[in-house]
Symmetry: C2
């Protein structure tokens, strides 16, 4: 049930962080309220984004009305690396006061062409996104809902806490989690309840999770 363990933090190394400061010249920052659209299908100008605060969800609405969340973006994460891959997807703020920095893709590419360190840093951010997708793919491949939810909680804890604490707040609803894990929101509920009853986690509120028995979650 364990996720793929990583040998390094998701937070980019400070060397890359320093190189990314070159983006400042074309940066603009905006704040979004919960549910507000950040970018949608067929925008005129394409941007590279980075989450500063809050959380965002990237999703696709399937024929039939079902929504599938393909990525959950937390502070530090980039999204919107060109290649036309974003067509058919929308990005929304998941909670109020979500702050994003955006950079025109054309400007980013022009800067990266001249600044090798920036180019490498961006490459690293893209590789980080790929690693995130691969881990999510493993979660989606779990057989039972309980395993999916367990791995999701571990992954989320790992992305938010830097391993210092076992408590965290979920920025999304049970319904969102369901659309993220490809199960129904009711099944998410039942799995959380089951984990709580087993003493694996405790809930100080529906979205206030504390991991009590990490080994059981991994197991």
């Amino acid at each position: 049930m364990a996720q793929a363990s990583l040998g390094k933090d998701y937070v980019p190394a400070s060397t890359f962080e320093h190189s990314l400061e070159a983006l400042g010249s074309c940066e603009s920052v905006r704040s979004y309220s919960r549910g507000q659209e950040i970018c949608g299908y067929g925008e005129s100008e394409k941007y590279l984004y980075r989450v500063r605060e809050g959380a965002a969800r990237k999703f696709s609405v399937q024929p039939g009305g079902r929504r599938h969340i393909v990525d959950l973006l937390l502070p530090g994460n980039f999204f919107g690396f060109g290649c036309g891959g974003d067509e058919g997807f929308f990005v929304e703020a998941a909670i109020d006061r979500t702050v994003l920095a955006q950079y025109p893709l054309r400007r980013v590419n022009a800067l990266a062409r001249l600044d090798g360190n920036l180019a490498l840093a961006l490459q690293e951010m893209a590789a980080e996104a790929i690693a995130r997708f691969e881990r999510q793919m493993l979660i989606l491949g779990k057989t039972t809902a309980l395993e999916k939810v367990s791995c999701f909680l571990l992954e989320f804890s790992s992305r938010t806490n830097s391993r210092t604490s076992n408590a965290f707040a979920l920025p999304i609803s049970r319904y969102d989690i369901g659309d993220y894990l490809a199960i129904s929101s009711e099944t998410v509920c039942r799995s959380m309840t089951q984990l709580k009853q087993r003493g694996t986690i405790s809930l100080d509120g529906p979205r206030e999770v504390r991991i009590v028995d990490r080994a059981a979650l991994e197991g």
Copy 2:
């Protein structure tokens, strides 16, 4: 049931292809037989790879022995963009005479730092991989096995044929497809049989697929 439609081909534009030729100075090419390991957990030196011919599968072996294929790599595709995200994953040739080019990551980064066009081309390849993962995520999120298999066939057709033909050969077994779609190989069989009986596809052999009614596959 339709996959996310893309506005461009998966095959990189020729401008990027030209820029990628700069990698030639540190390239080495090898051929692999079916099932042969290309790279595994904890290699000493890291490489960037590109498939020339054949096919490769990237997978993780989960506790419990289950195998999950997270990526299927076809000619033109890159894999192995650093960031430590490859830990816990293995890559194998899926069929005989699979040919790969490999480039030491350290050399690639050194080249990209000095060559802005190469850096942009690599960024584009990474974005292409991200788009591939997002599409795969949508497939994994389908509710029924029939939808998963339908979308898989459409996606595979799109990646191999450049839309000129409706026939293609699967380089992987039913078991592999199951591990790729997170369903059992038996269910893959049943879905294929069902599609055949409905006249949606025809099979000239277990791995020789022809799409008869594309609209029905799209759902």
